[in-house]
């Protein structure tokens, strides 16, 4: 098993990075925050052009048929740019759910559209995922129970702590699949892994921007990055990110993605990103607290995503439950 990304995976992530770097994401995000999602839809189409929206959709439904390991490398890059939208849902959980549970009807109907970027999907799955993210941009809204999947109807959406995100509760509006416990479990792990990857990428962006700012901002006649208090805090951020990544890649690479490993990855990536966010705001000081500067897109996305797809408390409980099972067997 190779845990570090392959040359192909790194090359694909670099292409995604390039597309997003050229795409005026600050403009996309601020339009979104003002209620105009058209620039975001255009951006999503361009990602579809690269294959991102169909990355794990099997080829028979028009996707790239990529692996989960491919998916987390790309999702890290989407988090790196704090891309708004139901990312974990539309490129991770829903494709996994439909491909595994939807066999005939729903998969044939929706997967080609999701892969092509024409349909954006979201999902609620209480209690781990009590809300569907971004129902206002979603063309397909699902509700998953332990072993049943419904087409869903979103209630009115709440604004999130993240200005580039809304959340809504979902009520059932017709059964799409039943006896789908395995598919639901797999989809939940897929969503958690994509979310963890986004967190890792956001954490990396926060570290990079903090380093850049600390090198350039001068106080007391020196760059603030020359002070040990700043250096040591950013060193700790780097260690956290560096040692969260292998948990993510190991969980993604294991066939079937084990609950224990997915939860370990979600906890570690969330903690590392959160530590990066807190350090980044302190390093930037007051300028980082302004909407205009833009750091807030990452700060609030990190806080939202650490709470989504299972909280740290839920995932820690699941790690121990799995370890206890292993000890008994």
């Amino acid at each position: 098993m190779r845990l570090a990304p392959s040359t192909d995976q790194a090359g694909y992530a670099a292409a995604v990075h390039e597309l997003l770097t050229d795409a005026d994401l600050p403009g996309v995000a601020s339009a979104w925050a003002d209620g105009d999602v058209a620039p975001w839809r255009a951006m999503w189409s361009r990602l579809a052009g690269l294959g991102v929206t169909g990355l794990i959709v099997p080829e028979r439904w028009g996707g790239l048929g990529g692996t989960v390991a491919d998916l987390v490398v790309v999702a890290e890059e989407l988090g790196h740019h704090a891309l708004p939208g139901p990312v974990a849902e539309s490129i991770g959980a829903v494709p996994a759910l439909l491909a595994a549970a939807g066999r005939d009807g729903p998969a044939d109907k929706w997967l080609p559209e999701i892969a092509a970027g024409r349909v954006v999907a979201t999902l609620a799955a209480p209690p781990w995922l009590p809300f569907a993210a971004d129902p206002d941009v979603a063309d397909l809204i699902l509700l998953a129970g332990t072993d049943t999947v419904w087409a869903g109807r979103a209630d009115s959406a709440y604004p999130s702590i993240d200005a580039g995100r809304t959340l809504a509760e979902v009520s059932p509006a017709g059964v799409l699949a039943s006896g789908a416990a395995g598919a639901v479990a797999q989809a939940m792990n897929m969503g958690a892994l994509v979310c963890a990857a986004q967190l890792l990428g956001a954490g990396r962006a926060l570290l990079e921007t903090s380093i850049g700012y600390a090198r350039q901002r001068t106080q007391f006649g020196r760059p603030i990055g020359s002070f040990q208090a700043v250096q040591h805090r950013l060193a700790d951020v780097a260690v956290g990110l560096e040692f969260a990544r292998p948990l993510l890649h190991a969980a993604a690479a294991h066939p079937g993605q084990r609950d224990r490993d997915v939860s370990a990855a979600k906890v570690a990536c969330g903690e590392a990103a959160h530590r990066a966010a807190r350090a980044a705001l302190q390093v930037h000081g007051a300028i980082g607290y302004t909407r205009e500067q833009g750091l807030g897109r990452w700060l609030t996305k990190v806080r939202a995503l650490t709470l989504s797809w299972g909280t740290a408390e839920q995932h820690r409980a699941r790690v121990m439950a799995e370890l206890a099972k292993e000890a008994r067997s």
């Binding site: 020359s226 250096q231 950013l234 780097a238 948990l247 890649h249 790690v319 121990m320």
Partner: protein, 366 residues
Amino acid sequence: MNLDLDAAAIGFRDEVRDWLASNLPATPLPSVDTPAGDAAHRDWERRLAAAGLAAVSWPVEYGGRAAPPLHALLFDEEYHAAGAPVRIGQNGLFLLAPTLLAHGTAAQCARVLPPMARADQVWAQAWSEPEAGSDLAAIRSRAIRTDGGWRLSGQKTWSSRAAVADRAFGLFRSDPAAGRHRGLTYLMFDLRADGVSVRPIRQLDGTAGFAEIFLDDVFVPDQDVIGAPGDGWRVAMSTAGHERGLSLRGPGRFTAAADRLVSLWLSDPRPALRDRVVDAWIGARAYRMQAYASLDAPVPPSATKLFWSELDVALHETALDVLGARAEVDPAWTAGYLFALAGPIYAGTNEIQRDILARRVLGLPR
């Protein structure tokens, strides 16, 4: 854990597992820092060497198997999972040997490595001095040119295992006129030579795990210089990378300790401590997965050292709290805890590691 090992790796892992199962001492060896323990641990190393397991990654001609890095990782995991004895030769095996293989001559490797693998020669590291700790380049001990070699004078301290070791390796100032980082020479010397005296220092746990070394005009032949005279800092920094990184502290120690911690908690599952146990387990798994990932993509040694040393303290702190009042009289966990407390200090304090990581890796200004 399914790491998709190939047949050769599985065969090797099974060989190590089987060998350890049938050769492990029935009762724990006496402490390595006592005379009886010294003999017992050297005997254990000889048995490992005879089985070709003392240093699997070394070239065959020096007593290794030329095994790939993956096999060294697997050996480390099996060794710790089996609870096998402390490696008395670890300073030589994990710190000097990689340095010699990178910077030494073939003649030096042929002379030094085979007796090191058999623990006929146990090595101590002689770097720190009373006035050169975190500021290692402040070293004052001298190496003065003489006919056919060098004469060493000065004082080294915090030298692990020097009380029982046969030989030592370290840095000496050979050209006081040169800059701090230049003019240092990397030398090997005999701890039993004329002019050497060793004074053991009792550590926090009561054992004489490290010592002071006093050198008074000690002769060292030219053949015991590693790399070029005056190039010692560069040579030493390659050893430092090994000490801070994976070769000294492989993931096996933490994986084994985390598994024991989880079992301990499950035997009396108190909810308030659960998340700390989970975090220790996650940390050990992160370190292990990073070790596997590092086979393809290297990790900065400073980051690695920060991670394992802090994980080790947190893991053992958690174990003591899980044990509760009984922890105070639990010899295994308290010994592990006291050992872990040294981790953030040796091999360059964690504060120095953060400096290095911030400046050399992250590119923050001085």
